[in-house]
């Protein structure tokens, strides 16, 4: 493959800035031109990313379409991109969601349109780069590059407490990722000592022998960075603030893609790089995931604000993803990967829907609504479908993901699986209860009587999401088949140490037995 298609896709959004920056945004038509160009660029990026899909070979477990150039040679830093069965879907999810968010902000963002679209496109490049980078240094650069545009999106175009939320988001993420940087250097240092070869190449760093204490320490630092991003239970407090204050587009990107960075980080970096550390922390992480599932659901139940409710549901859903990753069975991991995509679609769609109604009424409080199903039938129907997908109703995408995870978990850890399954029930409770209070019954609030239903633009960006919801729900194999090889490879990478450990135990046991028999023979 000579054509650097991954580079094209990654930097296409950035290239778009050249067209956007010179356009004046004083007039309404200027703003529309900016929106239009941004939309076209993101569509073009999506089209280009479909070519990645076309070029992807599902039978290969390793990385594909790899591009490798020396970047900072004296430190062994390369510009190395590549994708496997996981990142393929996350890349497609990113390029798929971005144009939808641009469409959704057509009216909602009216101030500083140019700056907004620029931030969004820079963010897209950073996200795509993060998913494709195979060099730890490059990965870190993209990872940090996401911070500033997201900080601006929340802080400039957000709600009332936007600055508080933006700074909280920034600081939480920065603490984790800076410690990760120290550990990246530490890992490279150990690899250098071991092999005499200085490199930041992920593939070469896999399987670096590290003293056990350091491995645990390094895993902890990586896990902290990613757990904050996921977010896992005790580190989730930035998420509701960020979600509630962010504009709709920000929330969609945050929920749809940025949170996946955390689970992706576990899958790609933390777990395979430090299998022993991962093994050491596995019980804790499973525990925190289960707590996250139930806690997120319970807290979501009592939220008066629809957006906050959806935000807390994310904590619950991402708990499933982490649980799925950590049961280390094929079903569990594939379910987890699928759940990442599902969550991107369903929760992204929910945030879009909340944004639509917020644009009309400028409130997100559940008690302000009630019985609006007969006033906005199209909106209500779509909302109900997305809700069902979010709670894992059969024939929708959510069902497949959660089912696979629970299936995988049940094989390994029955207690965790049972507890996590209650999360499904709780999920149905809080979502359906919210739907009931918002859409059914009598219209109590006269302000809602003249609510406008969705217009064509809004339907246009919801339809692709609805199609995907049913596509994954009815024919998941289309998606799963691409990731079998990568997932198996991942499991073998992470489990390798455990096999060794057991073999050590077996060896020690046999030695002891031999010694015992020898001493017996002496007697």
């Amino acid at each position: 493959m000579n054509e650097p298609i991954l580079t094209y896709v990654t930097f296409l959004p950035l290239l778009g800035l050249i067209f956007i920056l010179p356009i004046p945004q004083k007039s309404e038509s200027g703003k529309n031109v900016i929106r239009g160009i941004a939309f076209l660029i993101s569509i073009f990026t999506f089209w280009a990313s479909l070519r990645i899909y076309g070029a992807f070979d599902a039978s290969i477990a390793g990385f594909q379409l790899v591009e490798d150039h020396v970047w900072i040679g004296s430190y062994g830093i390369h510009y190395k991109l590549g994708i496997d069965g996981l990142s393929l879907w996350l890349v497609l999810l990113t390029t798929f969601i971005t144009p939808l968010t641009i469409l959704s902000t057509w009216r909602a963002i009216d101030k500083r349109v140019k700056e907004f679209q620029v931030s969004l496109l820079v963010l897209e490049t950073a996200m795509l780069g993060t998913f494709m980078a195979l060099d730890l240094f490059l990965f870190y650069v993209f990872w940090e590059l996401m911070l500033i545009p997201m900080y601006l999106i929340i802080g400039v175009w957000g709600g009332e407490r936007r600055i508080y939320a933006a700074i909280k988001f920034f600081l939480y993420t920065a603490v984790g990722s800076l410690l990760m940087l120290v550990c990246i250097i530490g890992l490279v240092y150990f690899h250098h000592n071991h092999s005499g070869h200085l490199t930041f190449d992920l593939l070469q760093l896999y399987g670096t022998p590290i003293p056990r204490n350091y491995e645990i320490l390094f895993f902890a630092a990586f896990a902290l960075a990613f757990a904050i991003k996921v977010p896992m239970f005790p580190f989730h407090t930035w998420l509701p603030d960020a979600h509630v204050e962010a504009p709709t587009a920000g929330s969609v990107i945050l929920a749809g893609i940025l949170l996946k960075m955390g689970t992706y980080g576990f899958f790609r970096f933390a777990m395979p790089l430090f299998p022993q550390g991962s093994d050491y922390f596995a019980p804790l992480i499973i525990l925190l995931s289960v707590i996250g599932i139930i806690y997120g659901a319970l807290v979501a139940m009592v939220q008066p604000d629809i957006k906050k409710l959806v935000a807390y549901s994310s904590v619950s859903h991402l708990g499933y993803c982490m649980l799925g990753l950590y049961v280390l069975t094929r079903q569990g991991v594939e379910g987890s990967v699928l759940q990442m995509i599902n969550h991107g679609i369903s929760t992204g769609a929910l945030f879009l829907l909340v944004g639509i109604i917020y644009e009309r009424r400028h409130t997100r409080l559940i008690k302000e609504y009630g019985g609006i199903a007969r006033i906005v039938p199209v909106y209500s129907t779509i909302f109900l479908i997305v809700t069902l997908s979010s709670i894992g109703f059969p024939t929708t995408n959510g069902f497949i993901g959660e089912f696979l995870i629970l299936l995988g978990a049940f094989k390994v850890n029955k207690l965790a699986a049972v507890l996590a399954a209650t999360g499904v029930i709780l999920g149905a409770v809080y979502m359906l209860w919210m739907v009931q209070r918002v859409f059914y019954g009598q219209v109590r609030n006269p302000k809602n009587l003249h609510l406008k239903d969705m217009n064509l633009r809004e339907v246009a960006y919801m339809v692709p999401l609805l199609i995907l919801i049913f596509w994954i729900g009815l024919y998941p194999n289309f998606f799963l088949s691409k990731m079998h090889a990568s997932v198996d490879h991942f499991i073998s990478q992470v489990k390798v140490e455990q096999v060794e450990k057991t073999s050590h135990v077996a060896l020690a046991q046999s030695i002891r037995e031999a010694a015992l028999s020898a001493s017996k023979a002496k007697e």
């Binding site: 970047w71 900072i72 040679g73 004296s74 430190y75 500083r112 240094f137 870190y140 650069v141 940090e144 590059l145 911070l147 500033i148 900080y151 601006l152 802080g155 400039v156 936007r162 600055i163 933006a166 700074i167 920034f170 600081l171 920065a174 603490v175 800076l178 410690l179 940087l181 120290v182 250097i185 530490g186 240092y189």
Partner: protein, 513 residues
């Protein structure tokens, strides 16, 4: 090797310290030209002298890059050396002077401060700084240190009407003299013990076991105190905020970069050459194998460890509570000194390379930031509070973007030079096993990110409350800002070229022997 060549040879003098000579002679000429131009009005005079200064710095830069860089093994009369290490640092300082001169034209005009002395002092400050890093003789170090310092004291006091400028300069002068006295006393002790002020002779003299004697350690510590003072490391930083706040903004940018670069350069030189190679192979000091093994390392390493941590921690922490942007940047420069000292602590080639790279990157972003500060200020002290930056990102998009870029670079986020620089020094420290310090240090940079970002949110997320009118922007300042901004981005994306040069430069340190 250590033979002192007492014959006076002008050609050698030119070879070794051509950069200094150009500056000194040009400074003298500029004084005359300034007098010849007295009948012209201040504006024209400023233009002439300013551009002449810029031209002088460019000429010096050219001489250093194309001539001095290649001659690296001559020690002139045992006083100055022209090794790649010194030349690299000199280039950083001349570059800093060049940017400062470009910005000064606009600054002096906006503040109606135009006087020829300003540029002459700037030139002599750089000449002194070059002399300082080129010295291989402790006494010459003291002299050049004073040349540099006196010029900078006068520059800091340049706004005669401003009590802040006067107060800061006086504080700087008194404390600076104190620091210099420490240095001089240390030199006296060392001279008494070793009978030499030449840093290589000292290295040989103390190799015999003298390094364990208490008076030598005291002298050594006193010399270091003199350097730490100029580097603005905690707890020798007390002067920094007042001086940085009171001094003319452009001078602050210059001080924070050139003076710091000089102090770091000479500190590294003394640490590694004079007090480094204690172990010797068959009577010959072996530089390469002894750098990190030197017997004095157990004495100074813990000290630098703590100073680095304290500087990073207090610099960043106190910066959070500042409301004046120049004061905030002053504390941030203390923190940056802490980061750079990680490279000294690592005491390996990577560390020295990291310091050199960091100094260059820091010069770009810091002078750039002060350039924006002075433009927004209009006239000194009219809009220096953080509150004055509200909404400026929309009012002046270009300035807002530049300020944002420089601050992001200082916060150490990719893809800027600040990130790569931090990466290099932290890499060097971790390579030597300083995990804890690296982890703590990097956490302090989260605090750093907080206050850098606060300026960004003032600029982009708050509405303007007090009307702030920026001063007129002069063309030379635009040139300087474009150079710094492009440099910050270029070094952030393609750092390797400069890193390789810096690496060659740090290896040049061994040539002094």
């Amino acid at each position: 090797m250590n033979e002192i060549n007492l014959s006076f040879d002008f050609y050698h003098l030119w070879e070794v310290c051509g950069g200094q000579l150009i500056l000194i002679v040009a400074g003298l000429l500029l004084m005359i030209i300034d007098m010849l131009l007295l009948d012209k009005d201040a504006e024209t005079r400023g233009k002439y002298i300013g551009w002449l200064t810029v031209f002088i710095f460019v000429a010096t830069l050219g001489h250093m890059v194309y001539r001095q860089w290649d001659i690296h093994d001559i020690v002139f009369m045992g006083v100055f050396s022209a090794d790649k290490f010194s030349v690299f640092i000199s280039i950083v300082m001349v570059f800093s002077g060049f940017l400062a001169a470009l910005m000064s034209m606009g600054y002096l005009r906006n503040n109606a401060l135009m006087k020829g002395e300003y540029y002459i002092l700037l030139i002599y400050a750089v000449a002194g700084a070059i002399g300082l890093v080129q010295s291989v003789d402790l006494l010459m170090m003291f002299i050049t240190l004073e040349v540099m310092s006196l010029a900078v004291y006068a520059l800091a006091a340049f706004i005669k009407e401003s009590p802040f400028s006067q107060e800061g300069a006086l504080k700087y002068f008194l404390l600076g003299s104190f620091g210099s006295a420490f240095f001089l006393f240390g030199v006296a002790l060392i001279y008494g013990l070793t009978g030499s002020v030449n840093i290589t002779s000292i290295a040989l003299a103390i190799s015999g076991g003298l390094y364990q004697s208490l008076p030598l350690l005291v002298g050594f510590a006193m010399i270091l105190v003199g350097f730490f003072f100029k580097m603005a490391m905690v707890p020798f930083h007390m002067w920094t905020p007042d001086v940085y706040e009171g001094a003319p903004s452009v001078v602050t940018g210059f001080m924070a970069t050139a003076v710091k670069a000089a102090a770091f350069g000479v500190c590294i030189k003394v640490l590694y050459v004079s007090f480094g190679p204690i172990l010797a192979n068959s009577g010959q000091p072996d530089f390469a194998s002894t750098v990190s093994l030197s017997a004095l390392a157990p004495y100074w390493k813990p000290v630098v460890w703590w100073l680095a941590l304290l500087s990073m921690f207090f610099g960043n922490l106190i910066a959070v509570s500042q409301t004046n942007i120049k004061r905030m940047l002053a504390y941030s420069s203390i923190a940056h000194a802490g980061y750079m000292s990680l490279g000294i602590l690592a005491a390996n080639g990577d560390g020295r390379m990291g310091v050199l790279f960091y100094l260059f990157a820091y010069t770009l972003m810091n002078i750039g930031a002060f350039g924006v500060v002075y433009i927004i200020d209009g006239k000194e002290r009219t809009a220096q509070n953080l509150e004055d930056y509200r909404g400026l990102g929309y009012k002046y998009p270009a300035l807002g973007f530049l300020m944002g870029l420089f601050l992001v670079a200082m916060a150490g986020l990719p893809p800027t030079a600040g990130f790569v620089a931090k990466f290099y020094v932290f890499y060097a420290a971790i390579k030597e096993g300083y995990f804890l310090l690296a982890a703590l240090g990097i956490l302090t940079s989260v605090i750093g990110a907080y206050y850098y970002l606060r300026v960004i949110y003032m600029m982009y997320m708050k509405e303007e409350i007090k009307e702030v009118v920026r001063g007129p922007v002069a063309a030379p300042t635009v040139i300087a800002l474009v150079i710094t901004a492009l440099g910050v981005l270029y070094l952030g994306i393609l750092p390797e070229k400069l890193a390789n040069i810096a690496n060659v430069a740090q290896q040049g340190l061994s040539v002094i022997f």
